[in-house]
Subunit: 210 residues, 2 copies
């Protein structure tokens, strides 16, 4: 169960392999984006998707995030998957298994056809297969939505996997050590209460996996 | 499966109920903390635990976070649980079900007996039951660890639950709508490769739930 591969394990746990970074980004739906308002940090969760060498952040016009980007604030975006709790024989060596990517840069608010395409990309990445089933968005809906593009130029990843790294002297202790793995699973799709009878769950939702 | 309660649903989705905020915080292990360096935001994931009316953030001395707090940077901390994908008949009304808390404030780096107690609290909250089984931390280990306390004075929550809120005109479409729920589950604890034979998995890890 415990992963054997340890990429950039210690002391830095840093990963600069682009395929690893892309895989971590592609597994997530929600990122945490930080910006600066009057010298103070603000962090909030938002939906995102990777689109080639950039990420697309989904928001509404009223968000402070959109105002901050328009005002020139740089952004910092993190995507984190918690894979387990590492239970070592000491508190100090106890830890978490995780995969995380952090991106820094200046966001760009997309407009016009770039925005339309980015919105389609967001739907397609967040719910693969869905794009053909939703009705087209109206001009008003698109106007009320903000899409921010952030390049992956400045990106890094950290990965911690595997079992505890206990001190040699602790290995003789009568204490259990190991990992409690975590999994995120998608359950059976639940129909809306106002769903018309006779409409089946689409296959792309039955097989939804992240 | 879909939750019926909708707290602060729309338009703000805001929640100021302290019990809701505490429950969201107590369910998580990893938060995203943002700070400011030279006017730029930095966000990173870290382990945390709620301790009464504050959160304790776990770090190492070498972290930029510790430097930023020593330098007086305010903090913004978010804890987010993604509960599902809301699949509406339009892209615009599609969304995510989530529970999230954001805290703003100035962190305090704990020292001395306050730090010792906070480290015990972190272990006890992150892995309930574990505290009695780990060997005591050494002075050097405690010195290499940073614990930052952040008060819950300035805290808010957002909760989105329930099914899609489609436009009236979209209800006649031949399109499935509903929610794909997400669950995070803890798997069977995996022993360390160097675990001595004959040491059973403790009950508090078998029943680990978040």
């Amino acid at each position: 169960m415990t992963e054997k591969t340890r990429i950039g394990r210690l002391p830095e746990r840093g990963v600069d392999d682009l395929a690893t970074i892309q895989a971590i980004l592609d597994e997530g739906l929600v990122c945490h984006v930080a910006y600066v308002v009057d010298g103070r940090p603000v962090v909030l969760p938002t939906l995102y998707a990777r689109d080639g060498d950039r990420v697309l952040l989904h928001g509404s016009n009223s968000m402070g995030l959109a105002r901050a980007v328009r005002g020139g604030s740089p952004l910092s975006v993190a995507v984190t998957h918690l894979d387990g709790v590492v239970v070592a024989r000491s508190a100090f060596n106890s830890s978490a298994n995780y995969r995380s990517v952090v991106i820094h840069g200046t966001g760009v608010i997309l407009e016009g056809s770039e925005k339309d395409e980015a919105l389609d990309t967001l739907v397609d990445r967040l719910i693969p297969g869905r794009l053909g089933d939703v009705r087209p968005s109206t001009v008003t809906e698109i106007r009320q939505t903000t899409v921010i593009a952030l390049s992956l130029d400045e990106v890094s990843a950290k990965v911690r996997s595997g079992g505890p790294n206990d001190d040699e002297a602790d290995l003789d202790l009568d204490t259990w050590a190991g990992v409690v793995p975590f999994f995120t699973v998608a359950g059976e799709p639940t129909p809306a209460q106002d769903l018309r009878p006779g409409i089946d769950i689409p296959d792309y939702l039955r097989s939804f996996r992240r």
